[in-house]
Symmetry: C2
């Protein structure tokens, strides 16, 4: 059994977070992960506050264990969602795609533990000063919005930059990467892509199948020209978008090309026009399982690999 300061801090059994995947991570998935002993997280994405409030209700109806909400800071509804998180006194809030400074006081006063995703040393230091409870160091192998640094480099750098507990994210799907994360200095892991294959994950069957069948070169990064790079499966749509980035298309046109593409993937499994957000590690995700089984399995595997570490030393 792996015990970590993050378990005591949050009152969870296993140091495993489920990533807040926009359009995907709902109250049902979050509750399944939390009931399995990890930390389930509802993704707000670009959704209105009413959706987030509803999903918090769903999670509460299914579990009495701690769970979180992920606030996507670029969302037009971010202010209202931030307020709901505080009103509902959600146990944990994670943040992505930006700087959550303006909400820190509100959340902390409501007793919400704030765990921002930090893509750089300077952001880790700022969040530490502002009273974050922990930070998530997410490498650019992850799906969705990505930063510059890989997990291998980012995690030790963030550990050197803050005394807070560090959760490693990006590129983790089995016990080998789980154990590697602890060696890098993390005291917990967050997985998104591995939970795409959860029974409770509400994505279109085509999406789930594409993740399960993905090979090593299955993803690509688009949106770099616009300053908001995103990792997704290498679909016809992603290829078209990538090509358009190097064309004379205006930034506005390019931006509008992506509108609605996430919904088309998640809800309709549209492989021609949808954006299937996905991490590189999909190549290591090979079966559909209940979320609780995923939590238990990754921890058992990680424990086994960690226990074997000293065998290298003679």
């Amino acid at each position: 059994m792996i015990k970590s300061p993050i378990c005591e801090l949050l009152g969870i059994e296993y140091p495993v977070f489920q990533g807040g995947m926009a359009w995907i991570a709902d109250g049902n998935l979050a509750a399944a992960v939390s009931n399995g002993g990890g930390l389930g997280i509802i993704a707000a994405g670009n959704a209105p506050a009413s959706y987030v409030k509803e999903q918090i209700g769903v999670a509460r109806s299914l579990t009495d264990k701690p769970f979180g909400v992920n606030v996507m800071l670029m969302s037009p509804a971010a202010d209202e969602v931030a307020a709901v998180v505080a009103e509902e006194k959600v146990p944990v809030v994670t943040t992505g795609a930006g700087n959550p400074t303006k909400y820190m006081k509100l959340w902390r006063e409501a007793g919400v533990k704030v765990i921002p995703i930090v893509p750089s040393v300077s952001m880790a230091k700022l969040m530490t000063r502002l009273g974050a409870s922990a930070v998530i160091a997410e490498g650019c192998e992850s799906g969705g919005h990505i930063g510059e640094l890989t997990t291998m480099v980012l995690v030790p750098l963030i550990c050197d930059a803050t005394p807070l507990p560090v959760i490693a994210a990006g590129g983790i799907a089995d016990g080998r990467e789980g154990a590697a994360a602890f060696m890098l200095g993390a005291c917990g892991i967050q997985m998104g892509t591995r939970f795409l294959s959860a029974v409770e994950c509400p994505i279109h069957p085509t999406y789930k199948e594409k993740v399960i069948k993905a090979n090593d070169l299955c993803t690509m990064v688009t949106g770099k020209r616009l300053g908001h790079p995103v990792r997704s499966l290498r679909t016809p749509f992603a290829r078209r978008f990538y090509k358009a980035e190097y064309s004379d298309m205006s930034d506005e046109e390019l931006d509008s090309l992506g509108v609605g593409a996430l919904r088309l993937a998640v809800k309709e499994g549209d492989v021609e026009n949808g954006t299937f957000l996905c991490g590189q590690v999909a190549a290591l995700v090979n079966k559909v399982q209940p979320a609780a089984e995923i939590v238990k399995e990754i921890m058992d595997d990680t424990e086994r690999v960690l226990n074997g570490a000293s065998e290298w030393v003679k």
Copy 2:
């Protein structure tokens, strides 16, 4: 003391390779690393065969331990360099930036152990079939020519794809990443950027200083539009090149923009016009040391971290 099958296979003391950095890794640096118990590697880069032969002579005059030559497969001199490697019966050859199939027979018949850098599962399988002795799984956090996958994802995928020993490269500079590499399934590590700071590394003092002072967001990737992405320090030249990739400049013009930029960095320390190849992990490289001390220190640190792994399990 960490013992690994790669040590027995190559007759080296520590499972540490020094990356074959073009224009940089000469016979003197390679000998210093090999004398320290690791595997020093002479980089052929785009240099003519006569240079490679000369550097093999330098290495042999300074060490009687095994060393290697890295053949950059895109080099116009690759055929002649490959022949020199066979004639000279260099103990080990590593290959980068391409597919070394056409040289495998020549090298194996000369008794040269072939250890290709593999950026994908399919290349690892092909090299296994063709009789490679081991493979290097190099993640895209590394400096110089890069692939798509990060070390965290690539290493376990390559380990699943081949029964050969796997050396992890990319993003490794201290014992935390060293230990993580072993957890991912590797039985050795290769470092390039960490050896940029070696006393024996013949780069311009400005280059060495820039690596030592580098922070977390110090590198960027250019050349993606041309299909040959390269990671280097975020210099004025790298920024200009990146901007030009999104302009209407022709591919030919873009390509010619980079000619000579490597030499300007290595030999003249020209921060305005040089390309300073460098991995993301430069942020963890903070001092100038003899190469042998680097080899010993990374192994001692890795051993210490591996020995602590089971403390996570209660």
